[in-house]
Amino acid sequence: MLTKRIIPCLDIKDGRTVKGTNFVDLRDAGDPVELGALYAQEGADELVFLDITATVDDRKTLVNLVREVARHVNIPFTVGGGISSIQDVSALLNAGADKVSINSSAVRNPDLIDELALQFGSQCIIVAIDTRWVDGTDWVHTHGGRKITDIQTIPWAKEVENRGAGEILLTSMDADGTKAGFANALTSTISSNSSIPIIASGGAGSMEHFYEVFTEGKADAGLAASIFHFKEIGILDLKNYLASKGIPMRI
């Protein structure tokens, strides 16, 4: 049976993992390669590396980092942050990334989604959507959720699918950081209306939240950062819990 996926997200700055980590068994908690490999070993189904600096110099650092991750990690991994051209994507895929995630650049230039899907195949193009509820509607936001656009989230999700996105990474800025649960209603609406997988992100604070996002939220994958970094929830414990509740898991 096709399983639901658990995806830890690592924020990268200057080639290092940021946000504190609480892994006593890591030689270097800031080393994204070591942390990624550890997550893979613990049963993570995929990894997402999000580059939060993305200046020109950092791009070279990022490509080198991707190469190192690919050498050490035997599960699929996605790279996102500051990707805005075919050249950017080509460099990351050639370095060994399995997928890339685009966000602001897709909002700025939606044709980029079609171009990337045609060039590299939909399977490696994830469109990340940051969404926030404002004045009674869900609106797409950019710049890490700080800047509102004039695009509504639900039709945008359909549009990116039609343009060739292979998966959608949906982050609720309302839920993000609250640890009060994923945005299940919106995730469910988008997932039901979509034939591509939806990765839900933002709000994970407990194992129950993952159960809810896979049942009520109809998500195909759940992504989280800090609860895994701080070891509040172990990946294997989470997967055993979800499996015991009848959610298909790879264990």
Binding site: M1, L2, T3, K4, R5, A40, D45, A70, R71, H72, N74, I75, P76, L93, N94, A95, G96, D98, F120, G121, S122, Q123, C124, G166, E167, S194, S195, I196, P197, D220, A221, R250
Partner: protein
Amino acid sequence: MEIAIVKYNAGNVASVMYALDRIGVPYTWTDDESVLRQADKIIFPGVGEASTAMAHLKEKGLDLLIPQLKQPVLATCIGMQLLCKHSEENDTTCMGVFDVEVKRFQSHELKIPHVGWNSIQASQDNPLMEGLKKEEFVYFVHSFYVPVNPLTTAVCDYVQPFSAMLHQDNFYAAQFHAEISGMAGQRIIENFLAL
């Protein structure tokens, strides 16, 4: 041992190379006929669209060479589909090593493509599954599938049971991406290299 990876326009070659690096074996990425003929093992990887991939193979004469290869060949994902007779993806005539059709998934309930980790059940005599459990999880990304047939050596279930692996003579094939399928995928590649 000389390992050759077939060079054509398919994506994800980097992942295959890094998987071989992790195992610790050297390899050549080539479309050169003599190098391919002399290699001990051939890996024919792929991500992409069938008609474009076939056109590219034809341009280089690889569509005629690959079916003649005598050493063990491991084809993955679109590589497996290209070794079949015909694909519904843009009505493409393929290489015909496996005398089976590639069909498009049709479902109203389930999402297409089939993306993620799914379990496969291997047949008893599948040498690539040596040392693995009868049921293992591997990573899939595909919209087209090969129905279960006499050449099927592992079955996966999505929409309906389909071929996760095929085998005929020296040709071995996997619909999933062994190169990013965790320890199970690594063992499958190691088993192929040990044939």
